[in-house]
C-alpha cells in the first residue's frame, strides 16, 4: 500500500533519484568525525530556522512592544522559554562549530588551493553567524541587548570618515529605537539567514564538485549512512547541550526593558567579542582605533588572504606560517578574554552593578507578570518608569538625598530629615518622642521649634501616642477634601487626639478651623504627609504655610516643574508612602 503510493509519487516526481543523488555519493577522504562539524553546522542552522520561525509567530518588533512580546514568549506561552533557550544556545554553538571548521581547515591545510573558495565561504559563514547573533541580541530590547548594541555601533562610528554614516545606516537614524529594531529584525529573520543559506548551498556544491572531479583523494567511502550518522550525532550533541544549558540557566534570559535613561548598566559584549572589548578598555584613548579598526581589520584581511600565501612562499612554509598566525590570533584572543574575565571578577563596582541589574530585572519580571500591573500601553520602558519603587526611589536618590537621608543613608552631608516612611504613624510618633534626633530635625539648621516644644511639653506617653495617631490621619486626607469637610467627619471629630493636638500643637501649627497658631512660626499641618502636602512642600518649601519663616539659607531649595516633572514627583510621593506593587522577592531585594 505504502509502497505503491511511494512508487506512484516517484513515478510522477522522480524524488528517489534526487534522494539518491543527495546521499549516495562517495565521501572523499573517507568518512569520519573530522568531516562532521560542517554538516552539523548546516543541520543546526535548519533547527535555528525552525525555532526562529516559531518565535516570529509571537514576536513584535517595536521599541514599545518587543520586550513585552519576548516576556510573553518566556512566561505565558507553552514551552516558549524552551524554544527561545534552544534558539539562543544553539545559535552560540553555531559560532563555535563554524570556528572549529575553519580551525580544522587551517590545521589540515584544507584552506589552500584548489579550495580557496571553500575557505572564503567558510569565513563568510563565520561572519554571517556572528551577525545573526549580534542582530538577534538586540531584538528582545532589554538592557543587555540595548547597551551592547549601542557600544558596538559606537565602535563602528569610530571608523574614520565613513564611520558616522555607517552607524546611522545601521541604527536607522541618530537614536536607538523603532527604526533600529525593524532593521535588525529584517536582517535577522530574512537577509542574514538567506545569505547564510546561499553560502551553505555554495559550500555543498563545491564540496561535491571536488569530490567528483578530483582524484587527489585516494580513499573514498560512501557518505550514506555512516557519515550521515556522524553528522547527525554532532547535531544531536549540540541540541542536547543547548537544552541542558536552557534548563540549567532557565532559558536565554531576559533583562529589564531597555531604558536609555538608566544609569550604569554593566554591558559586556558576547563571549566572542570580549577580547576586543578588553583591548579597547586597556588601550589609551588615542590608540582606540587600534582596537576598533586596526586589529580586527588586520585579522579579517589576513584570514581572507591566507590561501594566497601559497603563491608567495613554498607550500610547506606557507602552511606552517598560516598555522602560526591563526594560533597566535587564538592565543591573543584567549589571553585578552582571560584578562577581561579576571578584571571583571576583581571589580567590586562591576559586580555591584551586575547585582543591581539582576534586581531590576527581577522587579520588571514581577511587574510584567502581575495581572494588576502588566506592561503599560505606553511600552515596556514605562514598566519601571511608572513603578514608584524603582522610579520613585531613583528620583529620591538623585534629587533629595544630597541633604536628606533614607534609612540613614544619603549621598552627602545630612542637613535634613530621614525621609524613610515620611508621613507614617511611625515617623510622626518618633518625631514627637525625640525631635532632635538626626532622623527628624537634629540635622536641620534653624528648625529647632519642635525641640523647644519637647523641652516644655508635659504630655504623658499615652497622650503623645494619641497625638501621633491624630496627626497620622492627615496623611490619608484625599485631595478634594477641605479642612471643614474633614473636621466634620465623625472619626476625626471624635478622635481622642484632637483636643490634645489643639492644645499642644495648635499654638504654633495652623489648621484651618481647628487651630490658630501664632506662638511661634511653624508649617501648616492640614494634610501633612498626604500627596498634596508633600507636593507643595517640594514645589514651594519657602511658602508662608511651609517653612517660609526659616532664614533663606536654611530653607529647602524649591523643585519647580522644570527640575522635577509632575510624574517624577508623583513617583517620589508614592514611593515614600509605600504606594506600589509589592511582591515577596522584590521586598527582599529592597
Amino acid at each position: 500500500m505504502l509502497k505503491s503510493l511511494t512508487d506512484w509519487i516517484d513515478d510522477r516526481t522522480g524524488y528517489r533519484s534526487l534522494l539518491a543523488w543527495a546521499r549516495d555519493f562517495p565521501a572523499p577522504g573517507g568518512v569520519g568525525w573530522r568531516h562532521a562539524l560542517g554538516p552539523a553546522f548546516a543541520i543546526v542552522f535548519v533547527l535555528e530556522a525552525i525555532t526562529g520561525l516559531l518565535l516570529m509567530v509571537a514576536y513584535s518588533p517595536s521599541s514599545s512592544t518587543a520586550w513585552g512580546s519576548v516576556f510573553h514568549i518566556e512566561h505565558a506561552l507553552w514551552m516558549g522559554w524552551f524554544i527561545r533557550g534552544v534558539h539562543y544556545f544553539a545559535g552560540q554553538a553555531m559560532v563555535i562549530l563554524i570556528g572549529l571548521v575553519l580551525l580544522q581547515m587551517v590545521v589540515t591545510g584544507a584552506y589552500r588551493q584548489p579550495r580557496e573558495f571553500r575557505w572564503w565561504l567558510g569565513l563568510g559563514l563565520l561572519f554571517l553567524t556572528i551577525a545573526l547573533s549580534r542582530t538577534g541580541h538586540l531584538l528582545p530590547w532589554d538592557q543587555e541587548g540595548y547597551w551592547s548594541t549601542k557600544i558596538e555601533t559606537n565602535i563602528v562610528a569610530g571608523i574614520p570618515v565613513v564611520g558616522p554614516y555607517l552607524q546611522r545606516l545601521i541604527v536607522g537614524g541618530d537614536d536607538y529605537g523603532n527604526a533600529t529594531i525593524t532593521r535588525f529584525h529584517a536582517a535577522h529573520v530574512v537577509v542574514l539567514p538567506t545569505l547564510l543559506g546561499v553560502c551553505l548551498a555554495a559550500t555543498i556544491v563545491l564540496v561535491r564538485r571536488r569530490r567528483t572531479v578530483t582524484d587527489e583523494i585516494a580513499r573514498t567511502e560512501a557518505f550514506w549512512p555512516e557519515q550521515a550518522l556522524k553528522n547527525l550525532v554532532v547535531a544531536v550533541v549540540v541540541v542536547v547541550g543547548s537544552i541542558i544549558a536552557s534548563l540549567a540557566l532557565g532559558g536565554a534570559g531576559l533583562d529589564a526593558p531597555a531604558d536609555p535613561s538608566s544609569g550604569e548598566f554593566p554591558a559586556r559584549p558576547d563571549w566572542y567579542f570580549i577580547w576586543l572589548f578588553h583591548l579597547l578598555r586597556t588601550l589609551p584613548s588615542d590608540l582606540r582605533l587600534v582596537a576598533t579598526l586596526v586589529v580586527p581589520g588586520a585579522i579579517v584581511s589576513l584570514l581572507f588572504l591566507l590561501p594566497l600565501l601559497d603563491r608567495l612562499l613554498p607550500k610547506k612554509l606557507a602552511h606552517g606560517l598560516a598555522c602560526a598566525v591563526v594560533l597566535a590570533i587564538l592565543g591573543g584572543v584567549g589571553y585578552l578574554t582571560y584578562g577581561s574575565l579576571r578584571a571583571d571578577a576583581a571589580d567590586a563596582h562591576f559586580r555591584e552593578a551586575l547585582a543591581e541589574a539582576d534586581q531590576t530585572s527581577d522587579r520588571a519580571t514581577a511587574l510584567a507578570a502581575d495581572l494588576e500591573t502588566g506592561v503599560p500601553p505606553e511600552g515596556s520602558t514605562y514598566l519601571l518608569r511608572q513603578d514608584p519603587l524603582w522610579r520613585g526611589r531613583g528620583v529620591l536618590e538623585r534629587k533629595c538625598l544630597g541633604c536628606h537621608v533614607a534609612e540613614g543613608k544619603g549621598k552627602g552631608e545630612q542637613t535634613a530629615s530621614d525621609l524613610a516612611q515620611f508621613g507614617s504613624r511611625e515617623w510622626i510618633g518618633g518625631l514627637l518622642e525625640n525631635p532632635s534626633s538626626k532622623r527628624y530635625f537634629g540635622a536641620t539648621a534653624g528648625a529647632g521649634g519642635m525641640a523647644e516644644w519637647k523641652r516644655a511639653s508635659k504630655l504623658k506617653p499615652e497622650e503623645l501616642s494619641l497625638v501621633a495617631d491624630f496627626v497620622a490621619t492627615f496623611a490619608v486626607v484625599p485631595d478634594d477634601v477641605t479642612p471643614d469637610d474633614w473636621l466634620s467627619t465623625k472619626e476625626i471629630a471624635d478622635h481622642p487626639g484632637l483636643p490634645l493636638f489643639q492644645k499642644e500643637c495648635g499654638t504654633c501649627h495652623v489648621v484651618d478651623g481647628l487651630s490658630e497658631g501664632g506662638t511661634r512660626d511653624a508649617p501648616e499641618l492640614f494634610g501633612w504627609g498626604s500627596p498634596r502636602w508633600i507636593s507643595r512642600m517640594v514645589r514651594k518649601p519657602g511658602a508662608a504655610d511651609r517653612y517660609g519663616f526659616l532664614e533663606p539659607k536654611h530653607q529647602m531649595p524649591a523643585f519647580p516643574a522644570e527640575q522635577l516633572t509632575r510624574g517624577d514627583l508623583d513617583m517620589v510621593i508614592r514611593y515614600l508612602r509605600g504606594d506600589y506593587f509589592k511582591t515577596a522577592p522584590a521586598a527582599k531585594a529592597h
Partner: protein, 174 residues
Amino acid sequence: MSRRELLVRLVWGCRAVLGLVMLVPGMAFLLSPLKKSGRGTSFDALARMSELKVGEPRAFAVLKDLRDGWVKYPREPIGSVWLIRQPDGVDPPVVALTAECPHLGCAVNLAADGKSFLCPCHNSIFSLAGKPENTVSPRPMDPLDVQITSGPDPEIRVKFERFRPQADRRIPLA
C-alpha cells in the same frame, strides 16, 4: 541485522530525536492560545435608571481592565451593551442585549426609526426585544444578566459575556 542496517536505524533515531525536540515544544507553543484565559466575568455598573427612558434603547460601553497579550490597558471599552428600560411593573425592569451580532460579531445599531436593531454588516434585523426579524441571524440578540441596585436612582449592573457566533443557541465563550 547488518552493520549498515544498524547505522541506518541510528540515523533515523537521531532524526527522530531532533524532530521531536522541534515538534513537541513547537506544537505546544503554537497551541498556547488554547490555554484557558481565566478571565472571570463580573457585574459592572453601566448606567443609572434615570439615564434610560422606557422603550428607548441606549448603548453603553463596558469599561474593563483589558489584557492584550502582555499589555495591560486600564479601563478600556471592551464591548457595548444596549439597555432597554421596560414599562413600570414589568420584570426585569431593564433588558440588556449585547451589541455583538450573533451572526458574525459586527456591532448591532439602532435603526434610524428607533423601532428595531439593525446590523450594518449583513443586514440582520432584530426587534427591540432582540427577536430576529429576518433570517440572517441564527438566534436572537444575546441577553446579558442584569442586577439592579436599590435606592432612589438605582444602578444598572450588567454581566458582560461573549457568545459563540453563528450557533443557534447561546454558548458562552470561555
